[in-house]
Amino acid sequence: MNAIETLHLTKRYGPKTAVDSLCLHVENGELFALLGVNGAGKTTTIRMLSCLVRPTSGDALILGGSVLTSPETVKRRISVSPQETAVAQNLTVVENLELMAGIYGLLDRKKRAQQVVKELGLEEIVENKAKVLSGGWQRRLSIAMALITEPEVLFLDEPTLGLDVLARRELWEVIRALRGRTTVVLTTHYLEEAEALSDHVGIMAAGRLQAVGTPEELKQRAGTSDFEEAFICLASEKGAA
C-alpha cells in the first residue's frame, strides 16, 4: 500500500516552475530519500506534501487523504522536521517536547516526552532552555519534536545538516529504527546518507523527477558502482524517470 502518492504535483511561483508534474509513490513503512542539487524542488515538494504550500495543480494523497481537500486529516497523521532548527527558544527541552505532544492531543505527554528523551539521548540537556543549546543539540531536539507525535509519515528536510560525524551516525540509527513502522521521506545533500538509509531514492533536477529506484538500481542505470557518480549522471540526464 502506498503511504504517499503524488498526481502530477506542480508548484509555480510566477514564471518559475519549482516542481513540475511530479508523479511518485512511496510505500508504507519505507524510507525514501529525495536528492537533488540546490533549487531542484525537494523542499517545495516536502512543503506541498506537508500541507504548508498549496500546489498550483495536481494533488498528493497522504495515507489516502488529499493535501488539497483534507489537509486537516493529513496534518494529524504526519510530522515535519524543517530544514532549519524549529524549536521554541525560551522553553526547556522537555517543555518543547510536551508542547508538541499537547498540540497533537497526546494524553500521556509526560511519559511520551520521557521516552523520546531516552530514544534521542537528550537526558543531559532535558531541563536546559533551547536557546542555550549548541546547534547540534538544537537539531536533535527539533527532530525529537517531530518524533514525539508518533507520526505515520515523517518528513525530514536535511535532518543531519550541521551535525558532526558522530551525531550524524547516531541520528542514522534513530532513523533506521523507524523503518517498517513509519514512512520516512528525507531530503539530504549527503549522498552516503541517502545510500546508507534509503529503501528508494528519487533524484530531482529543475523541478522534475529524473530517476527513482533503489541505490543499487540507480547505480546500475548509470553504469557505475559509485553512488555519487550515479547521482551526477542521473541528475544531469535529460528527460524524466
Binding site: R54, V80, L91, I103
Partner: protein, 240 residues
C-alpha cells in the same frame, strides 16, 4: 490550543526585557512624573489624570510583546512546524492573543495600585476605569498580532517599539492637553483611539458617565477594526 497558548505565555514572561518594559517602565513613569508634580506649583500631572494615561500607554508595550513573538516565530522554522501541525487558524489566533489579556489586566492593575501609593483614592470607580480599558486591551493586542503577521522582528521593533509607543504617548493627552496644540494635531488625535481610551478611563475614574459612552464606542470601533484586520492578514499568510 491550550498547549500553544501556554507556550506563548512562557515565551513572553521569560523574556526579562518584556517584564522590565511591561511593568517597570509604566511604574517608573508614574513615580517620575508624580515627583515632578510635587516640585512644581501648578497642577501638571495630577495622579487621577496621570494614572489612566499611563495605564493606556503601558498597553502599547503589549503590542510590542505580541508582535515580536509572532514575527520571531515567522522568521524561524518554528512557525513552519506549527503550520504543519493540526493547529487551525482559530487555534493560532486565540493562542497568540488570549495569553495577553490577563497580562494587560495585570499591567493596568499594577498601574492603579502604584497610583494608590501616590495618592489616588481607591474606590469602585477604579474597577470601572479598568473595565473601560478592555476595548483598548483588544486594540493593542490585535495591533501587535497584525504587525507581527506583516513585519519581521526588526521592523516590529521600529513600528511597535518606537512609532506606536510614541503615538500612544503624544496623541493621548497623557502628558499635555491636546487643545493646547490644536489644529491638525488635535484632529488626528481625535480620530485615533489613544485619547479616547485615556478619556474613557478618566471619566470612569471620576464617576462622570455622560462622556464615557462615546469614548468607549470609539475605542471599541478601533478594536474591532484592528482585530478584523489582524485575523484577515494572518489567515491570508497561512493560506500561501
Amino acid at each position: 490550543m491550550g498547549s500553544f497558548s501556554v507556550r506563548n505565555t512562557k515565551e513572553i514572561l521569560r523574556d526579562p526585557i518584556n517584564m522590565a518594559f511591561g511593568l517597570g517602565f509604566p511604574i517608573a513613569l508614574l513615580l517620575l512624573l508624580t515627583a515632578i508634580q510635587a516640585n512644581v506649583p501648578v497642577e501638571v500631572f495630577p495622579v487621577e489624570r496621570l494614572t489612566p494615561g499611563i495605564a493606556m500607554f503601558g498597553l502599547s508595550f503589549v503590542s510590542l510583546f505580541s508582535a515580536t513573538l509572532i514575527a520571531k516565530d515567522r522568521s524561524t522554522a518554528f512557525l513552519t512546524r506549527l503550520l504543519s501541525s493540526p493547529l487551525t487558524a482559530r487555534d493560532f489566533i486565540l493562542g497568540y492573543t488570549l495569553p495577553l489579556l490577563p497580562m494587560c489586566l495585570i499591567q493596568s492593575v499594577v498601574c492603579y495600585v502604584t497610583g494608590f501609593c501616590l495618592g489616588l483614592r481607591p474606590g469602585w470607580t477604579v474597577l470601572a476605569a479598568l473595565a473601560a480599558l478592555i476595548p483598548s486591551n483588544i486594540f493593542f493586542i490585535s495591533l501587535g498580532f497584525l504587525c507581527g503577521s506583516l513585519f519581521n522582528d526588526k521592523q516590529v521593533g521600529g513600528i511597535c517599539g518606537a512609532l506606536l509607543t510614541n503615538m500612544a504617548a503624544l496623541l493621548s493627552g497623557t502628558w499635555f492637553d491636546l487643545e493646547m496644540v490644536g489644529g491638525p494635531f488635535l484632529r488626528v488625535a481625535e480620530v485615533l483611539p489613544f485619547v479616547h481610551a485615556v478619556d474613557a478611563g478618566r471619566v470612569a475614574l471620576s464617576g462622570d458617565w455622560s462622556n464615557m459612552v462615546l469614548n468607549l464606542l470609539w475605542t471599541t470601533g478601533w478594536a474591532f477594526v484592528a482585530l478584523t484586520a489582524s485575523i484577515a492578514v494572518f489567515r491570508g499568510k497561512m493560506r500561501r
